[in-house]
Subunit: 69 residues, 12 copies
């Protein structure tokens, strides 16, 4: 079966600094247990607020990887 099949997982990364950092935090953590992560798509950008400033960015994304035989 030469046609690859991919699976998607939904993750939420968090960061106190930027949206990009939250995405990278999520991918770095997923990389520990999932091999071959290939692409992602941001599906939601939320966060918590403290004293009128963003306290924590919470970025949800779908990340896809090829299922290995």
């Amino acid at each position: 079966m030469k046609d690859p099949v991919y699976k998607t997982v939904e993750l939420t990364g968090t960061s106190t600094t930027t949206i990009e950092d939250a995405v990278n935090k999520a991918l770095k953590r997923a990389h520990k247990t999932i091999k071959g992560l290939r692409w992602f798509q941001v599906t939601e950008t939320r966060g918590s607020i403290d004293k009128g400033q963003v306290h924590q960015w919470q970025v949800t994304l779908k990340a896809g990887f090829e299922i290995q035989d």
Copy 2:
């Protein structure tokens, strides 16, 4: 890495009585194998019909939990 990362799973709970019961059935079952479930979001409410009444509520939800190291 102090910023937590969460994963989401999509479940469908069923119940012959209420929407709330279907959600709780799904969470109770997931709790057996997933530690640290934190929040959920209902994404679809469907069901089967028998003799002009709801036979089974089928409630789909996303449930999030923190990925542990």
Copy 3:
């Protein structure tokens, strides 16, 4: 033609008590004239308000049934 074909109708059930009751009211009424209702999907949950409380739940759903020959 052995492959079944289904039709969907959109209904709004109402109730002064619960969402589940509104769905059942709609299905019970539809059952009087449509045979073979099989499944439903809730598409909207609205209602009217009286004195700061829900006066009437208005739950819209699609209900499917097999078209008979």
Copy 4:
């Protein structure tokens, strides 16, 4: 100007018991400061989880009322 104009506010009610109770909690609280609430529409049903059961239902809704002169 005889044609009425309405305004919508977005609220999130919470409850440890049912979705209906969360909606009523939100409407009861809004009723203290807004006169003439007329209709609502549920836009999101979420919640927090504790020990594999729903800890708190969080139901977001839009509620409309007529703007008085």
Copy 5:
């Protein structure tokens, strides 16, 4: 607990021939490790292009299965 609970996984099947083949490729691969797959829903149809023709169909779907005790 007699009410069944289902889990959904998101997969992307690929094929050089048809949309149907891409779906079947995804299901065939998932079937190796997941027992009791019951239903699917196509959520996205994409693909890559080579010389003005479809090179690879990429069909994303959600597939549901009953969680066994």
Copy 6:
């Protein structure tokens, strides 16, 4: 009244072979009782699974026809 008015019905066709066949099955069945079907739009592609292969394609579509006087 020279401006035509159309009505839309929602159907789900099924097939064990292809998406196109499921659509044609639905249209063929609807054609028995509805005259003047003009256009359709696919709104959902689902199916049931058996032994890791598509058992039945379930394609939902809206079909429009002109209301005759």
Copy 7:
């Protein structure tokens, strides 16, 4: 059964002049066979073009009416 149940039909009205006229054309036609039409919601506004001008407005709407016993 005092709680009313409503049904929705989807119609497309057409007009060479305005969106409002297309909606009224659809409602006028539906009124011939459906009693008790109560509300509508516009779901799509399309049209055909001739010589760089709108030739025909095509406005799709859902119209609801109470199901009578």
Copy 8:
């Protein structure tokens, strides 16, 4: 802080004549208490029906204005 911040309110204007009139009715009323309304976006077009004709257009819109210091 030179970068402006805007707030959005959701309104529903009504009219017995046109969609445009319903929007203007909503804006005229909001203008009495909100200074600096800048833009709007129509989010829903509904209405009530009487004797097969539109009785009242109900047009929902979001209107944005700059928050003043």
Copy 9:
């Protein structure tokens, strides 16, 4: 190749008077450079506000035309 292929362009027409006029303004302008415009679909209705009235209607639409050989 007898099966026609169409292309869609997205335009925003503006008008100080009506939604219909904004659509016609967009089509009239596009007609200067694109031959064979066939259909359109309104995708957004926005506008600017001046003194509590609509100053400019901004109607976005997709317009399709057949690609000529």
Copy 10:
């Protein structure tokens, strides 16, 4: 500037046989004037009906290509 930039065009391919053929017809035609088409995404599947069968499949897709310097 080493980071590539892509442009997307929206096309509708037609076919009397299959969805796949309609997509390929659109890509083949676009390939005549656009170099470097890389990926596509199906956004709508419609069609015309004749005598209770699909007369013409109309498949809308977005196709992306790299903008060359």
Copy 11:
């Protein structure tokens, strides 16, 4: 009434530098008049362009706070 009720407001923050800065500008301004802002969700990211570069980021978000007694 121990179950908290939340209200959501929709804001658009602007910035010449980053998306994050636009969000923080909106929250900082809202904090002046609203106590207890708890969470936010980004709903739209737009901007104005000048000479082929982003001139102003315009980020719309919903921000929620607990209604105090």
Copy 12:
């Protein structure tokens, strides 16, 4: 014809660093051939992954410009 008409193009900018940089890359490139770009709206944020980190941000946006006579 004093009412301006705008056209929208859909672009995907890429960057190895930030979302903002990807947007600016797309606008800078489009500016070479399109005069008068006025506004943009981000419609999708995706990317490729390498070794558990974002390799390339891929940000899709619609950019609008006034059609000149």
